[in-house]
């Protein structure tokens, strides 16, 4: 890209997008100026011996495990038999709305408007892509990634209600995996932060990358 004058770029994401963003930084450390994440990709968690964990880290991870028990059923089915679930969701608008809407309801802090939610549903509906989207869970389960330390400057936009309402993962824990240069806690917003709090995320992105140029 250097021949075009665009030798370097930034990246940001959440959920699977956080995974893509992280791998981008690992694979292209000289090209990626910095990465900005608003959630951790759950398959890219630090590998830590439990004896090394602080009490705060331990309690947050325990809260996470509680969430896994009560909320992660979708991931179990999508990472094993996504095709089976797909038939019903691809055939029924109400079924699709129930399945996708439940996640938006549970994981967001500032629930988007019905208009936005229905636009997202319509996109899945007209492109018939709910089944193929769920295959991400299957592929990531059977072809896992080994996380390694990300030395690229990293910003975390911490949106309090990130799936696990009991507590955000502590900075010390995420510093085991990322070179964290910026850590900003926001009063509202959740898993879908870019859609829930676009001004907050845009401001955080602008401030972070301005400092890295």
């Amino acid at each position: 890209m250097s021949e075009l004058g665009y030798s370097r770029y930034g990246a940001s994401g959440y959920d699977f997008g956080a995974g893509v963003t992280t791998i981008l930084a690992l694979d292209h450390p000289t090209s990626v100026i910095g990465i900005h994440l608003t959630t951790l990709e759950s398959d890219l968690a630090p590998v830590v011996d439990s004896t090394e964990l602080s009490d705060v880290e331990r309690s947050c991870l325990a809260a996470n495990r509680g969430w896994e028990t009560t909320e992660r059923g979708y991931s179990a089915i999508q990472s094993t038999k996504p095709q089976t679930v797909g038939y019903g969701l691809n055939d029924s608008p109400a079924g699709l709305a129930a399945y996708v809407g439940e996640k938006w309801h549970s994981w967001s802090d500032v629930m988007p408007t019905d208009d936005f939610l229905c636009a997202t549903l319509t996109l899945y509906w007209i492109t018939q892509s709910i089944t193929s989207s769920m295959r991400d869970y299957w592929d990531n389960r059977w072809h896992p990634v080994d996380p390694s330390y990300v030395s690229t400057p990293t910003a975390f936009g911490v949106f309090a209600h990130q799936t696990v309402s009991e507590g955000e993962l502590p900075r010390s824990y995420l510093e085991r995996l990322y070179n964290i240069q910026r850590w900003t806690v926001f009063p509202s917003g959740g898993h879908f932060a870019p859609a829930e709090e676009p001004a907050a995320v845009a401001g955080d992105l602008t401030a972070f990358f301005r400092g890295l140029r």
Partner: protein, 155 residues
């Protein structure tokens, strides 16, 4: 691709399951919430309005990956790639795009989401280049995609 919702009449005769009174969301999506949302989707939601709104952005595909591209107001900004998650889409970023004037923004659709088809094979992970190497993965595609987009003209 189906262009109409085909939801209208279907929703009117939808067979709704029962729900334990007062249980809220504990066993999953709450019945009254869903009925209201689906009714809105079928009878009030304006997808044509969204089409007009989305058509105001610059859409491209690169090697099958759909993305929206917005050039910095100055004509050349730091490239910034914004990647969504599940169950979501590039639409997460449409409200934010006008707030990102300093950047040359690239908003891809993950393979298998919305306008990016998913290659019909297994092993499409966030990191195919590191695992099985069997498929096209977004993170390994992004550098070339950015390179391609930067050759586009202004606007």
């Amino acid at each position: 691709m189906r262009y109409s919702l085909t939801c209208g009449n279907g929703c009117a005769i939808q067979d709704w399951p029962d729900q334990i009174p007062g249980i809220g969301w504990e066993q999953g999506t709450e019945l009254d919430w869903l009925r209201r949302l689906v009714s809105y989707w079928a009878y009030e939601f304006d997808w044509r309005g969204w089409e007009r709104r989305l058509n105001a952005f610059n859409h491209f595909t690169w090697e099958g990956i759909h993305f929206v591209y917005q050039r910095a107001t100055s004509g050349k900004g730091v490239p910034l790639i914004l990647t969504h998650g599940w169950p979501s889409s590039f639409l997460d970023y449409v409200d934010m795009l006008p707030m990102l004037e300093p950047f040359d923004v690239v908003v891809p659709s993950l393979p298998g989401y919305g306008f990016s088809p998913r290659p019909a094979k297994v092993g499409i992970t966030t990191d195919t280049s590191r695992s099985t190497g069997t498929g096209s993965c977004l993170s390994s595609d992004i550098p070339a995609m950015v390179r391609a987009v930067m050759t586009l003209g202004p606007g």
